[in-house]
Subunit: 232 residues, 2 copies
């Protein structure tokens, strides 16, 4: 423990935010975890977020209800088909249909607001620009622009407090994330990533998120402990 400053952690229940939380915790931050119920088709990732928050020993975990489905516009909220079995090149070629308009902007805005009530100017997000290059709101230049905006748009920022968006995974491959998480003792069996799990909560193994996750475990030379419908 080098410090006991508070930080807000965006926590999805996936392997990236779990690893991000472990990195923040090791850096000595007291964690306030924030998850969202935003019209998802299933509650499995929120159950995973609860398990991960508990494993991280966070000071508080808030799940906010926000109705992104009221706007439509994404496979993650409108019920459109999730693409399966795509190549990495195809994933990279365009903004994915699973892109949720302004999602990280909205999530970071709530993290910022909560941070201000907590006197916390450090926000952690598991954004990754290597395997999610198609998502504009996962890129370093977006995060830096959000930081600049947050500095100007908050009481703590205008009073001189430096607001920092930490995205420690931003340049890592999935394999490096798995390795780093393992070093920090992240229990990946608690995490869920799949865009299209079955009723038992088993991952499909074929959507973009599953394919990237499985690639990461393969690169790290480890077996993914999460349950899969097709591969277990």
């Amino acid at each position: 423990m080098t410090t006991s400053r508070r930080a807000v952690l965006l926590l999805s229940g996936g392997m990236d935010s779990a690893t991000t939380g472990a990195i923040a915790s090791q850096a000595g931050f007291e964690l306030y975890a924030l998850s969202f119920r935003y019209g998802q088709r299933h509650a499995i990732e929120l159950e995973a977020a609860r398990r991960v928050a508990s494993a991280l020993g966070v000071a508080r975990h808030v799940i906010l209800n926000i109705d992104l489905a009221a706007f439509g516009g994404s496979a993650l909220t409108t019920g459109s088909a999730v693409p399966k079995d795509r190549s990495l090149a195809a994933m990279d070629a365009s903004v994915p249909v699973t892109y949720v308009p302004a999602r990280n902007t909205i999530f970071l805005s709530f993290a910022l607001g909560w941070g201000e009530t907590l006197d916390a100017s450090d926000l952690f997000i598991g954004a990754n620009a290597v395997d999610y290059s198609g998502y504009p709101d996962c890129r370093p230049e977006f995060l830096r622009a959000f930081e600049a905006m947050a500095q100007l748009g908050t009481k703590m920022g205008t009073e001189g407090r430096a607001i920092t968006i930490h995205a420690p995974l931003i340049r890592m491959t999935k394999g490096q994330i798995v390795q780093r998480g393992r070093e920090l003792g992240v229990d990946f069996s608690l995490t869920r990533t799949c865009y299209d799990p079955n009723a038992r909560g088993e991952a499909c193994g074929r959507c973009d998120a599953c394919l990237l996750r499985l690639k990461g475990f393969a690169e790290a030379g480890l077996r993914d402990p999460a349950p899969y419908a097709l591969l277990s």
Copy 2:
């Protein structure tokens, strides 16, 4: 009508957003109005927002539920006392207790997300830097920073579409806003501004919002048609 582009309008039910909507409408935009139920202590401003949306003839009016009260931190959501009878100098001296952490950041983020699903890159907000100098998220430099962030963080922005945050009232005095609204036919009797109305929906006449509104009508040489508990 010079154009029929769509725009998202942040609509609170107060005189500023009503006037902003009238300006956007006159500029030829088809309006999509967005209001928030965010743990307010009363629904009076949302009723006003509905009336104003109807008077503006918006294409659609969405009221989103977001639970800012889960975070605490502001008189508008926590139930703390609203200050009364303050001088304009006192209002100017510091960030008001009615400041809601990151509120405009959160509101604009949702407007951005909805805008992206509507193919609308024009967002209108009734922010004003003259009479609300204490709110960091009402200043032009914040709005420009939000615009830069939105450009980088969205599909439409990264595809080259220019995202514009319109804040046509930003440099106006309250008196000028009243005059401009009147020229455009805004029915100010539909709008509500008070932070602390009574059970009949009558304004207190003494909170910061009422004092600024009354100053505006006085400067414009008009009588405020909204109902007041003490002054009618």
